[in-house]
Structure formats: C-alpha cells, structure tokens
Amino acid sequence: MIRVENISKSFEGKAALSGITSSFEPARTNLIIGRSGSGKTVLMKCMIGMVEPDTGDIWYNENQFSLLVPEKQRAFRQQMGVVFQGGALFDSLTVEQNLKLPMDFFTDWKKDRKTERVNFCLEKVDLRGVNRLFPAELSGGMKKRVAIARAIVLNPKYLFCDEPNSGLDPQTAIMIDNLIREITVEFGITTVINTHDMNSVMEIGDHILFLSEGTKCWEGSRDEILTSDNKVLNDFVFASELMKKIK
C-alpha cells in the first residue's frame, strides 16, 4: 500500500501540487486523472522519488520514502516498476537486453534463468519473437508492452504507469489497460496509473483520484464517477458529446 500525506510542490513560486492526501491499495488499479497540467505527473514523480516534494510524506507500507537517504531510495526503487509515457526503452539495446538490464544489476541469476524470465514477461504482455529486435523496429503499442514487461521483470511490489495508452489506437489502448489490470491482480501489485483517457477510467478504474490545478478535487471508483455531482469532475468526464449521451 502507498500513502501520500499532504504533498505540496511548487516550481518557481507556482504551485503544482497543494496538500494532496490519498492512499493506493494493492491488487487494484489506482488511477490519477485530470487535465493536462493538473499535477498528475508531478505527483507520480514525487511518489517515485524523481521530484522531492516541498511538504508532506510518502509511505510505502511502513517505510517513509522521503526520510530515506538517496542511496537507500535508489535501493528501494528496485521494488518499483515504472512505465514511462514514451516507453523509455534503451535505444542501443535489444528488447531482450532491455529486459535483462535490471536483472544484470540486481540479481545473481544465471544466463538461462534470465532468458527464461525475459520470455515469461514477454509472454505476459503477449509478445513473442521480438527478443532480438531494437526499439526502433517496434510499433508504439509493442514499445509500451515491452516497457510493461521490463517494469515487471523484477517482480515489483509497486507499478507506476504514466499515460500508458497515450498515442495508441483505441483497441491497443484497451488491450494495454487490460494487460496492466491482469498483471496487477495476478501479482498483487499496487498499481498507480496517470491518465486522462476516459476509456481507461471506465475500463480499469478501481480507485480514482481526480486532480484539478494541483489540488485533490474528487476521489472514488468508476461506478461513483458517473453519479458524482462534482461540477469540475463532471466538466472533465463529460467533456465529449459521447460521454454526455452515455450519462
């Protein structure tokens, strides 16, 4: 479980986050939603230690992340898997080498076991026969799936995905969403996803945190989102004609 308490962050005097408090439970897909610039990515970066919050605490179960020294934070990050918006695969490495890199650093596994694990993770994301391909040879959806496979290769307790289905066609986007959900439930991972895609919200939003202008505006589940009377949330969720009709 991850708990954020009263997180605030400013950049050059401009508040990006103000007093965010929430908790994210394991084996559930926790979504952080909001318009572009609402502070979703900053909150996620605070959670993974890429940005230091001005105030507040982040707890991973009983560990207060912000109190760990940088070396301990780095070691703690081995329990995290992160899927970046663009995939962030290493261009100079093949798919297999991309997946093996964390294992090379943090395990003493033999080569065969690492290859076995690579194939297992690629199977999980429904990719076969791509081990020797370079990221430049993959489509956008395949890159995202490889990024997910790399994120889970060390059996993380926590999975963070920054807009995992942005730039993908609707079918692939739903496939990625379902894939993340399956992995989350199967391995009991605490998953946090940044998105502004309403399809994802309705498909996999077990727990949703809605941010607006750096503040927590609403929190609930995908069933509650349709019946909420929060005006800011409604303006965001029912921005399209289709969603208005669904409502």
Binding site: I48, M50, R74, A75, F76, R77, Q78, M80, V82, F84, Q85, G86, A88, L89, F90, D91, L101, P102, D104, F105, F106, F160
Partner: protein, 246 residues
C-alpha cells in the same frame, strides 16, 4: 556567478559518476564497449589527419628553414617534436573533442529527453555512473594509444613526402627523428592525453546529462560540450606544460 554554479554542478556530477558501481563486472564490460565505440572508431580519422599533418609540417620546415648551414635532418627532428609535443596530443584531442564530445553529449542528452535516464534511475541504477564512468575510463585508456599511433603515422607521412618529393634522403629523415630523442617528452604528451581525455568526456557527459527540453536543447548541449571541452583542453595544455616542462 553562473560559471561557479556550473562548476559546482559539474563537480557534483563527477562525484555521482565516480561513486561505487552497483556491479563492477557490468561496468568493466561497458568500458571495453566504449573503447571500441569511441576510440577504435576514431582510428580512421586519426590516421588520415596525422598522415597529412606529418607531410605538411615537413614541407613547411623544408621550405622555410632551408639553409645550407642547417642539416636536412633538423627538419625531421623538428617535425618529430612538433608531432610529439603538440600536434598528436593537443590538436588531436581538440579534434576528438569535436567528434567524441558531440557523440557523448548528444547520446546522453537524447537519453535524458526521452526519459531513458529517468528509467535507469527508477530501476535503482546510478545513471550518471552507468552512462559516464565507462566512457571516461575508456577514453582515458584509448586516447594515449591514439596519440602514440598519431605520432607514428605522422612520422610516416613526413618520411613519405620527404622521400617521394626529394626533400631529403630517407636516411637523413630517420637520423633526424632519432636525433636527441627524449622519452620524457613522450611521457609528457601521454600525461596530457589522459588529462584531455578526462576533460572532453566528463564535460561532454555533464552537458548531455543536464540537458532539459527536446531535440533543440540536445543540439545546443552538444555545441556547448564541444566548445567547453576545447577551452578546457587549451587551459589544461598550458597548465600541464608549465608543470612538466616549464
């Protein structure tokens, strides 16, 4: 003020780069990859430049110092010292700063703007050390080799033009390059090359690592990396020369 700020950030970057590696064997392999990628791939350009400079230097010396009172072999003796003392270390490293420096800076800069460095950090890997340390160590190993090779090829270039253009006899040329040979000068040039290799790779890596923005900023970082590397090489050249020969 900004200069001091950047110097401080550069020193903090170096501290991160030279912190204890997570897994020594991975870094060790990476050093050899970088030697191949950055150093061995520069062999062609080093050979071409050195050969032609060797030819040009001896032509200049013969044309401008041609005097019946000065023996011919003095020209090849001077060519040797030009190559050993300045060209093959300083000028060659200035050229390498352009080639290798922009390569390092743009590679690391692109990794930064495409979140690959963030990905390394979130895996718990010291990205600065993993990306920069093997490049710095690799170049510090291979640059002295390139310098020695440059001296050798430059001398061959000088010999080639001396003999084919009848500037002097082959025997005079060989006598000149062996005349009053001082190994300390070779040691001095090797020391310089190690210092220059450290400066060009670390400065370029720093500029790449601190890139923020997009493709435009990656290009800007590469330019800054080359400019600062060259300036620092020239300053270091003066300091090392003053210390070792002054």
């Amino acid at each position: 003020m900004r200069l001091i700020l950047n110097l401080g950030r550069y020193l903090m970057f170096l501290r991160k780069v030279f912190s204890r590696p997570e897994r020594f064997s991975l870094y060790f392999k990476q050093v050899f990859r970088e030697i191949d990628k950055l150093g061995v791939s520069s062999l062609g350009i080093v050979a071409i430049i050195s050969f032609f400079i060797g030819m040009v230097v001896i032509i200049h010396l013969t044309a401008n110092l041609g005097n019946p009172l000065i023996p011919d072999y003095y020209n090849s003796y001077t060519t040797r010292d030009v190559l050993v003392l300045e060209f093959s270390s300083t000028v060659l490293c200035l050229i390498l700063a352009g080639k290798v420096g922009s390569n390092i800076s743009s590679e690391i800069g692109t990794m930064r703007v495409t979140e690959q460095i963030d990905a390394l950090e979130t895996m718990g890997i010291n990205s600065a050390a993993y990306l920069a340390q093997p490049k710095i160590i690799g170049m510090m190993i291979i640059t002295p080799v390139l310098v020695l090779l440059s001296i050798f090829i430059g001398l061959i270039g000088g010999w080639f033009i001396s003999v084919t253009a009848n500037l002097m006899t082959g025997a005079d040329y060989i006598h000149g390059i062996r005349y009053e040979f001082d190994t300390y000068k070779v040691f001095y040039t090797l020391v310089k090359s190690v210092v220059f290799a450290f400066l060009m790779t670390s400065i370029s890596a720093y500029h790449g690592y601190t890139t923020r923005g997009g493709a435009l900023e990656v290009g800007r970082s590469s330019t800054l990396a080359v400019v600062y590397s060259m300036i620092m090489i020239l300053i270091a050249n003066y300091l090392v020369t003053q210390l070792m020969l002054g």
